[in-house]
């Protein structure tokens, strides 16, 4: 199936790299024991070593110490742990105010909404037309009762990158904890916690050709964080559950395989996509043209609807995504497109294309040609965009 499809939805899921699978394999069949302490049996110790090694490798990518990295089942869980863990730790002590952006992905957004129902106040910051947070607005929003600021490193739909260095400096100055959801940016957009004053970072393996179901949370030493799930005492007593060692090893391997050269190649494809697709009339780019994920192109086409575009492309062998209401699980248009001041129509007509390791330049040529034809066809049958005849 995959061989026939030109897959351009790498922001949703990526194909596993065989080398990741090879790295993981021994931990399913040979070193499959539970990670025990040093007082356990030798297979368990071996397993623990593998886990520790994976942890250390991932921490190095972040510029962090190994004990600052907690494995989770994915970045959704990581974001839940970050938001609810800080709320639990500081809610009674410091205050009940949380700040986040209106364009966060659902793990952060809905965690914040749940906390609201539990008596916390949440400020959802607006973003500008290209999706960027205004630092002055953020600064004004922080109060003495603010216990957490959660701003994503990059946006899942429109690809806009936030200025984490500046946001971090601000939060440091004001003495509030900063969480960044880096699900879509890390590691292609490097993040060094030695340089960027961020306290919590959500990460995942599945968007860089690593396994699904494993992610992590970076927790800077000293960050107030309460345990959110109950069970044993794994992961520095922050996240119980038998460790997913194959997953951890796969995660580390996947990160290792991402190179700046590869990312530059993807960026070239992204730029080609954007440049050529914007030549289709009545189209516009969503998100920032420069501070943008290297592999994300998101374009809105007027007068046509996303699900139809998607289906036509699927029939021609392409996989892409759309911000249309029909495509979402709630029948709601993309809150991100609406958040940057777009109207529903712009959301419905938006197409997100995200490239990955297995895409080639020919894929760009092919999808551009296909989109030109599909958009033209759908515009023929659309009542919009034509000269209005009298009612």
């Amino acid at each position: 199936m995959f061989a026939e499809t030109i897959y351009l939805d790498n922001a949703a899921a990526t194909r596993l790299d065989e080398r990741v699978l090879e790295a993981m394999r021994p931990y399913f069949f040979d070193t499959f024991a539970v990670a025990t302490s040093q007082f356990g049996y030798s297979p368990g110790i071996e397993a623990k070593d593998a886990l520790d090694m994976a942890r250390a490798k991932i921490a190095t990518h972040l510029g962090a110490a190994p004990e600052e990295f907690v494995f989770t089942s994915g970045s959704t869980e990581s974001s839940n742990l970050a938001l609810k863990g800080v709320a639990l730790a500081l809610g009674e002590k410091k205050g009940k105010h949380i700040i986040t952006s209106g364009i966060e992905d659902f793990a952060v957004l809905n965690s914040a909404r749940t906390l609201e129902k539990q008596g916390f106040r949440v400020t959802y910051l607006d973003v500008d037309e290209q999706g960027r947070i205004d630092l002055d607005v953020l600064s004004d929003a922080i109060e003495s009762e603010t216990i957490l600021v959660s701003i994503q490193a990059a946006n899942q739909e429109i690809g806009t990158l936030q200025d984490l260095a500046a946001i971090g400096a601000l939060c440091r100055e004001k003495g509030t904890v900063l969480h960044a959801d880096a699900t879509h940016s890390f590691p292609r957009v490097p993040l060094d916690v030695g340089e960027i004053p961020v306290d919590l970072v959500s990460l995942t393996a599945h968007l860089v050709h690593g396994p699904k179901g494993v992610g992590g949370l970076y927790v800077r030493k000293g960050t107030p964080l309460a345990k959110w799930m109950d069970g044993g005492f794994q992961e520095f007593n922050l996240r119980p559950g038998e460790e997913n060692i194959p997953g951890a090893v796969g995660f580390a391997k996947a990160l290792e395989l991402v190179t700046p050269e590869e990312t530059a190649r993807l960026q070239g494809m992204r730029d080609a996509l954007i440049e050529r697709l914007l030549q289709i009339p009545e189209s516009r780019l969503n998100g920032h043209p420069v501070f943008r994920l290297p592999h994300n192109a998101n374009i809105s086409f007027r007068f046509v609807e996303g699900e139809s575009i998607l289906l036509h492309l699927d029939m021609r062998g392409f996989a892409v995504s759309t911000g249309s209401a029909c495509f979402s699980r709630s029948l709601e248009a993309s809150h991100v497109i609406l958040g940057i001041g777009g109207d529903h129509e712009r959301a419905h007509g938006s197409v997100r294309l995200t490239v990955g390791r297995y895409n080639k330049d020919e894929d760009v040529d092919a999808v551009v040609e296909a989109l030109e034809q599909v958009i033209a066809r759908l515009r023929e049958i659309s009542p919009l965009g034509k000269i209005e005849t009298k009612r």
């Binding site: 609807e305 699900e307 049958i381």
Partner: protein, 212 residues
């Protein structure tokens, strides 16, 4: 084939019938809105004597279901008298397509609404419409039968989702038996407002959700 659509739907999606506009149409309509991602425009040419629909064309902005249902209603309506065309139901349209997923039945409702509105437009032009009906609880209930519950693909009245309707001084209040945080609450709310707000004697529509 793993897609949720029947072969018939896919065929009408790929090759919709009777697409286009009729420049000198005897009647036309436009239902839906770009805001909700679904629009259908219907154009009619009616033989005055026989009251038959000689020609019917449609234009569509929306998903595959939207395009397919637009296409199928033109096939169902062409050649029928206005009286018979008025009787075509959304279930018929859906059945003619081999069925639609529940979450998409609102598309076939929209296509039928488009057809009905075009027929009404014809009657209005020919001076056949009586004076305007006032908005009552009964009328609101009737309109709410055009709002679909995306979970089961049946309307809100039939699935007993309407707890209360109040009509007073141009304000219509509808209480829906769904928690406010339900996955489909916002889209159902928007659909209700769209169906009632255009009424000539309605100033405001308030949709409330009963927290369960």
């Amino acid at each position: 084939m793993p897609l949720p659509y029947s072969e018939t739907v896919m065929e009408h999606f790929r090759n919709p019938r009777n697409v286009g506009r009729i420049e000198d149409a005897d009647a036309q309509s436009m239902e839906g809105s770009p805001a909700c991602g679904d629009m259908v425009a219907v154009y009619l040419k009616v033989d005055e004597k026989s009251q038959r629909i000689d020609d019917i064309k449609f234009e569509s902005y929306g998903c595959a279901s939207n395009i397919a249902t637009g296409s199928i209603i033109t096939e169902l309506a062409k050649g029928k008298t206005l009286k018979d065309a008025k009787e075509i139901t959304w279930q018929e349209a859906s059945d003619a397509l081999g069925g639609l997923p529940p979450i998409k039945t609102h598309c076939s409702v929209l296509a039928i609404d488009g057809l009905q509105a075009a027929i009404e437009n014809y009657e209005e032009r020919k001076g056949l419409i009586k004076e305007r009906e006032p908005t009552t609880v009964e009328l609101v209930t009737k309109r709410l039968k055009h709002v679909m519950n995306p979970v089961v693909g049946l309307d809100l009245v039939r699935t007993k989702m309407i707890k209360e309707i109040e009509v007073k001084d141009g304000v219509v209040r509808v209480v829906v038996d769904l928690p406010e945080r339900h996955q489909f609450a916002p889209s159902i709310g928007a659909d209700i407002r769209e169906k009632i707000e255009p009424r000539w004697d309605v100033n405001e529509v308030i949709v409330e959700f009963a927290d369960s």
